[in-house]
């Protein structure tokens, strides 16, 4: 280092003093607190996983997945009807929630005039509905869909509609965010070329937001997959030895089966519940991975 450089460095140190001891201590404490918070969260998760896995892993087998539930013999019980029921519920949910949710989001983002009180009312209601406890949706489903005006009975369709109502607000909110992420300049560019508003939405806005919407729908469905309370309230079947054979059929779902087994005084059934939890977690993990993949691979960077 030449003399001139050293002189320059000395001058710089005088101008920009190093961080004080107090600042450093603060930074260190803050960092330690954050690590502790992350560690605590991870510890809880790992403990839970370990507990479930140690009970459930020995019970996991292809037989467990393909057999029907049993009330009497834990060694012959399985979860086929629960898996099939959950799968059907997801399909019904998707069919209902995707068109309704996207259409609502498009209306609110692209057409609604926010100065009008009825549009603001719709917005506020959707925000609130997303925060309503799921058991309330169960009561709603019981009063209006299972009994009452719609009277579908304790059927697969009633369960699917109830879960759809539960996740619809979440889907709308996520879809709105994805649509809002498309910059206004894209809409202007399209409209300035003589495209109609609908052409602009269909050919520019939706293609630009579809990955975000799909991600949101999958995450919302993965919330629905784990919901127990609303299905319990509307009266899902417990331990059915048959798969649902249509929309009007009785049904069960994985969380219902898990709940039923954890209530059983026989410890062997509780272990089966742990095994079923593992199956459900794998399903959740798969869905979330697909969501992350979609987001990383297809989401539009503006």
């Amino acid at each position: 280092m030449s003399g001139a450089q050293m002189a320059a460095r000395a001058a710089r140190q005088a101008v920009i003093p190093s961080a004080s001891g107090r600042d450093r201590t603060f930074a260190w404490i803050f960092r330690a607190m954050m690590y502790a918070a992350v560690g605590l969260a991870m510890l809880a998760l790992v403990t839970l996983l370990y507990d479930v896995a140690s009970d459930g892993l020995p019970k996991l087998s292809t037989d467990f997945v393909t057999r029907f539930p049993s009330r009497i013999l834990p060694e012959r019980a399985g979860i086929q009807s629960a898996i099939v029921g959950t799968f059907y519920l997801m399909i019904i949910c998707t069919v209902i929630v995707v068109p309704l949710g996207i259409a609502t989001a498009i209306y609110l983002e692209e057409y609604a005039d926010r100065d009008k009180w009825w549009n603001r009312l719709v917005e506020i209601n959707i925000q609130n509905l997303a925060a309503v406890p799921s058991v309330v949706y169960g009561i709603l489903g019981l009063a209006f869909i299972v009994r009452g005006p719609i009277s579908l009975g304790r059927t697969l369709l009633a369960g699917g509609i109830t879960l759809s109502l539960l996740v619809l607000p979440v889907v709308i909110i996520v879809a709105r965010e994805a649509i809002r992420a498309v910059p206004p300049s894209i809409r202007e560019g399209s409209l300035a070329l003589g495209a109609t508003q609908w052409q602009t939405i269909w050919k520019q806005v939706l293609p630009g937001s579809i990955a975000g919407i799909a991600t949101g729908v999958i995450l919302a469905l993965s919330r629905a997959i784990g919901e127990t309370a609303p299905l319990l309230v509307i009266g899902a079947a417990v331990n059915p030895r048959f798969n649902p054979d249509g929309l009007g059929s009785a049904f069960t779902a994985l969380p219902i089966q898990i709940f039923a087994w954890t209530q059983d005084p026989n410890r062997d059934f509780v272990a089966l519940a742990a095994a079923a939890i593992l199956v459900m977690m794998v399903a959740l993990l798969l869905m979330n991975s697909v969501a992350i993949f979609l987001r990383n691979r297809y989401e539009q960077k503006w």
């Binding site: 100065d115 300049s185 409209l191 300035a192 070329l193």
Partner: protein
């Protein structure tokens, strides 16, 4: 007084012809008011008493002037003077702002664009627009150009339409080997020329440009100015610009807007101070405010 900044080699024969014609017109009508030159030039927009309100705020007032065919008209003035608001009246882009209300008449080829039975979508098919920030669609270069013709249901060979538009946008040679690549991979200047070419693909009559070079470097700006000089042979161009040299270089006519403060400075309303031939606005302005602005005393 600033000299008019013009590189001689950039002057096309057409531009020279227009200038000669303008000069002839000026000589002919030396006694007339300087801003109102009698001409035989075809009027493309006859703007009468246009006012725009955003809610109850008046954004521009009493804009009245004629815009001519195959000329470049520049709108200059300080920030907030309503230049962009005004240019967006010419293809009804202000309809997209729910609180905006446009009064007055914009007569285009004899039809008032604000008459009740006019469909803004049809207006925008005839009058294209290029924005301040290049806004290519997140698609291939080809699909960016083809979007307009496709939504219009244009007949004919799409490859030819795309090639023609890119050539008119002076972009063909640079992109002909990568038409299928994403437009986001282009430079800012190329993206803006793509946006110009995209507007040309639907064969409009008028091209509105809202500060098209403000996000570009000087070289890209120069290319777009060259392009504008070529395009005015076939199109009429209206350009909003903050760059006075740019207005002086490219435009035939210039309108100078200013901001009026009303209601103790709470309301800002734009209005036209002066409209006339560009060389006259820059060398012999009729209004003190124009002179102060073009000589750089404020703005």
């Amino acid at each position: 007084m600033p000299e008019r900044v013009t590189e001689p080699e950039r002057q096309s024969p057409a531009q020279r012809a227009v200038e000669q014609r303008n000069q002839a017109a000026v000589d002919e009508a030396a006694a007339a008011k300087p801003a109102k030159r009698p001409t035989d030039r075809e009027v493309i927009f006859d703007v009468n008493d246009v006012q725009v309100h955003y809610g109850d705020k008046k954004a521009i007032r009493d804009v009245t002037f004629d815009l001519h065919r195959n000329e470049i008209t520049a709108l200059i003035g300080p920030s907030g003077c309503g230049k962009s608001t005004f240019i967006r009246c010419l293809n009804r882009m202000n309809d997209l702002i729910p609180s905006a209300r446009v009064d007055g008449e914009v007569i285009y080829h004899g039809e008032n664009l604000y008459a009740g039975d006019i469909d803004p979508v049809q207006v925008r098919k005839r009058i294209g627009m290029v924005f301040q920030k290049p806004n290519p669609f997140p698609k291939s270069i080809y699909d960016n150009i083809a979007f307009g013709p496709r939504v219009m249901g244009m007949k004919g060979d799409m490859d030819e339409i795309v090639e023609g538009a890119l050539k008119r946008g002076a972009l063909w040679d640079e992109v002909k080997d990568r038409l299928k690549t994403n437009a986001f991979g282009m430079s800012g200047g190329q993206q803006q020329r793509l946006c110009i070419a995209r507007s040309l693909a639907t064969s409009p009559d008028v091209l509105l440009m809202d500060e098209p070079c403000s996000a570009l470097d000087p070289i890209s700006t120069g290319r777009i100015e060259d392009l504008m000089m070529e395009l005015k042979e076939n199109y009429s161009i209206v350009i909003v610009t903050h760059n006075m040299q740019q207005a002086a270089r490219v435009s035939d006519m210039t309108a100078f807007f200013t901001v009026e403060l009303n209601n103790e400075g709470r309301d800002r309303t734009g209005a036209v101070v002066e409209y006339g031939a560009t060389d006259q606005i820059f060398t012999n302005p009729g209004d003190k405010r124009t002179e102060d602005y073009v000589t750089g005393k404020f703005g």
